[in-house]
């Protein structure tokens, strides 16, 4: 029976080509769009986690309230002890201390006068010593453009764009002009040993990366840290686990009315990411819903047109005594076949396109010139298991739905009128 129907569909392209093409295009678009949204969402999470919030972040309550201005005067004190405590209490996470700072990078000439100067965004992480995961988290080995990473105290790497702008040579001395955590102006000499490009416009404009202990000394932040970040093993963000960890930590610490007591928040709760992530979820849902509805309407319409064209055929089949239910079921079977073929082809095309976008990505750097959001310059799709059926199932369902509605017309045909209709 199915072979008979397939033969019919192949031989009469007018009843199979348009619906199949509709399903192919719709399915492919859904797969690509879904994979793109998932990829973008994953990239935003990864960029924010690695460079900004971690999967969870511990800060003082006061620092949290003013986090946008990086208030190091409100930093965590006794950070090393707190870090040890976190490692013991939450062994699922890798914990790191960081200090974020701003300032000017001043390049002296031979006489010590300013040769070049630029505002910088600084990040202090543990680069020296054993056991740090920062090289991996920040993808430093791949980000390195020139020179090497700091291997001794007093060494820094700067963004390649900044080095070019300041005409900075490797090995040159650069003076960081910043503020101590007590508000005094502080100057510290560093040796520039390398340049990096993170692929994040907000950082690549003017970032410097220094060892945590160097910056603690420079900013008079002994045993202090602006923030302590926790990363789940494997680097995959898990909403539930991080929220649970944050709740547990905050319940353990309590409030105590102290604005300097530490508080933990997960990635979603910080940097306005909740809105972004919710939006990505909503867009995915809306996309699939719209796809199913629109495709159903299109296929319903296609079914109606087909029914008009096959009016005579249906009438003849009814006149020959074929039950209405059987005709209806064969139409459904035809649509299942079209849906299957269209969905398979569409999913294949969609996966291929999404795979290409995953590997090559699209460079959106020109749109990020003044962006402060942590977002990679190259946006990529992400092909997941869901990509395999996110277009396939709706593609199949829409076809069946469309045919189910248009096929109901068969039950409205009056057998008594058939001879007249066929004569006409």
């Amino acid at each position: 029976m199915i072979r008979f129907l397939i033969k019919g569909l192949l031989r009469d392209r007018s009843r199979s080509l348009f619906p199949t093409l509709t399903v192919v295009v719709g399915t492919a678009l859904t797969v690509v769009m879904y994979s793109w949204i998932r990829g973008t969402e994953a990239d935003i999470i990864r960029a924010n986690a690695n460079f900004n919030t971690g999967h969870v972040r511990v800060m003082t309550r006061a620092y949290t309230a003013e986090v946008d201005r990086t208030p190091n005067d409100l930093a965590l004190l006794g950070a090393d002890e707190l870090l040890d405590e976190l490692e013991q209490r939450f062994p699922d996470f890798d914990w790191v201390s960081r200090i974020r700072f701003g300032g000017l990078l001043d390049i002296p000439n031979a006489t010590g006068e300013t040769r070049a100067q630029a505002p910088v965004t600084g990040l202090a992480v543990q680069l020296l010593g054993e056991g740090s995961i920062e090289r991996e988290v920040l993808n430093l080995d791949n980000a390195l453009v020139q020179g090497g990473l700091p291997a001794a105290p007093g060494e820094i790497v700067v963004s390649d764009e900044l080095a070019t702008r300041l005409e900075l040579e490797l090995g040159e001395t650069a003076t960081l002009i910043s503020s101590t955590m007590y508000g005094s102006m502080a100057t510290t000499n560093f040796t520039v040993v390398g340049t990096v490009e993170f692929g994040v416009a907000a950082l690549d404009r003017g970032a410097i990366l220094a060892d945590l202990e160097d910056v603690r000394f420079a900013l008079d932040m002994n045993d202090a840290a602006g923030e302590i970040l926790g990363f789940l093993a494997g680097g995959i963000y898990d909403e539930e686990r991080t929220a649970r960890a944050a709740d547990e930590f905050n319940a353990w610490i309590g409030d105590g009315g102290d604005e300097f007591s530490p508080v933990m928040g997960n990635l979603r709760a910080q940097s306005g990411l909740a809105t972004t992530l919710d939006l990505a979820g909503a867009v995915s849902f809306a996309l699939i819903t719209i796809f199913v509805v629109v495709m159903s309407i299109v296929l319903w319409n296609a079914g109606l047109i087909g029914a008009l064209r096959r009016y005579g055929e249906m009438g003849l089949r009814l006149a020959l005594g074929e039950p209405k239910g059987h005709i209806y079921r064969t139409l459904i079977l035809e649509s299942v076949t079209i849906g299957l073929i269209g969905s398979v082809i569409g999913t294949s095309i969609g996966i291929a396109c999404a795979w290409y976008l995953q590997e090559k990505g699209i460079n959106i750097e020109p749109f990020l010139k003044n962006a402060s959001m942590m977002i990679f310059n190259v946006m990529r799709a992400r092909v997941t298991t869901t990509s395999l059926f996110i277009g396939f199932v709706p593609g199949l369902l829409a076809t069946i739905l469309g045919t189910s509605i248009s096929g109901l017309g068969i039950y409205r045909r009056q057998t008594s009128q058939l001879t007249k209709e066929l004569e006409a």
Binding site: A62, D73, L74, L104, D106, P108, G112, E113, T114, T175, I177, S179, T180, Y182, G183, S184, M185, A186, T187, T188, N189, D220, E259, F260
Partner: protein, 246 residues
């Protein structure tokens, strides 16, 4: 110049003897005369209140005229040896730890000095206000149990750190006992309150002054003059860039 303060006394006497209210210009001129001297050498310290406690910064200053000053920080140990030099409208800071002299300009002028409620812009300001502001007497009030004129000053130029100021000037001593400084929008930016005055070499000055950056929710800086010597001989090299690395 050594007896400039007598002019203040005489002016005060003249204002009082005339039996009628002086105009704002005369009061501001008297305030300026009280501040002015050929040179002065002082030691002072600032107690800076932060959200996490207080810290003290001590320094010695050499001032010549209105345009030249040199400051060396004495405490805390981390800041010891940091020097600042103001020559005219230029300001440099020297940091011995990096052996770098940094010119403070542009937006850096708005930064806090050593974490206090004073900005570099405050340091750069010409202390003689009569050339910069148009004064109007707003009324009379008592501050620190002293009768004061309340003056409202409006900037004559656009490039001043404060567009307007309200100050409470001791009617007899011509010391500013309280001051509110405002932005062009009318927003209060800074307040100063003198809590102790002292008569030194026949002139009255605020010995303990509380500065408050109104844009900061907490804190405040108490500026305390420990010693001050007027009209001292100051070697020429103190007001050259060479002093910074000396």
């Amino acid at each position: 110049m050594k007896h400039r303060w007598w002019l203040v006394v005489l002016l005060g006497w003249a204002i009082a003897a005339s039996g009628k209210a002086p105009d704002g210009d005369a009061i501001l001129a008297a305030v300026d005369r009280n501040i002015g001297s050929d040179s002065k050498v002082s030691t002072a310290h600032m107690v800076i209140e932060g959200r996490r406690g207080s810290r003290t910064v001590a320094f010695r200053s050499w001032i010549r005229g209105m345009d030249e000053s040199s400051t060396e920080y004495l405490e805390p140990p981390r800041e010891r040896g940091v020097k600042m030099l103001k020559l005219g409208d230029q300001l440099w800071a020297y940091y011995p730890s990096t052996d770098r002299t940094i010119k403070i300009s542009g937006h850096m002028l708005r930064q806090s000095v050593m974490g206090s409620d004073l900005s570099y812009e405050d340091l750069m300001e010409d202390p003689l206000l009569s050339g910069l502001y148009d004064p109007v007497i707003e009324g009379e009030e008592v501050v620190l149990e002293r009768p004061c004129w309340v003056l409202h000053l409006t900037a004559k130029r656009d490039d001043l750190a404060y567009d307007s100021r309200t100050m409470w000037v001791d009617k007899e001593r011509f010391v500013i006992l309280r001051e509110h400084r405002f932005a062009k929008s009318g927003k209060l930016l800074k307040t100063t309150d003198v809590t102790e005055v002292a008569e030194i070499d026949g002139r009255w000055l605020g010995k303990t002054i509380e500065f408050k950056d109104a844009l900061r929710s907490v804190g405040g800086t108490t500026f305390i003059v420990d010693t001050i010597d007027f009209d001292e001989e100051i070697p020429e090299y103190v007001f050259t860039k060479a002093i910074l690395r000396k």
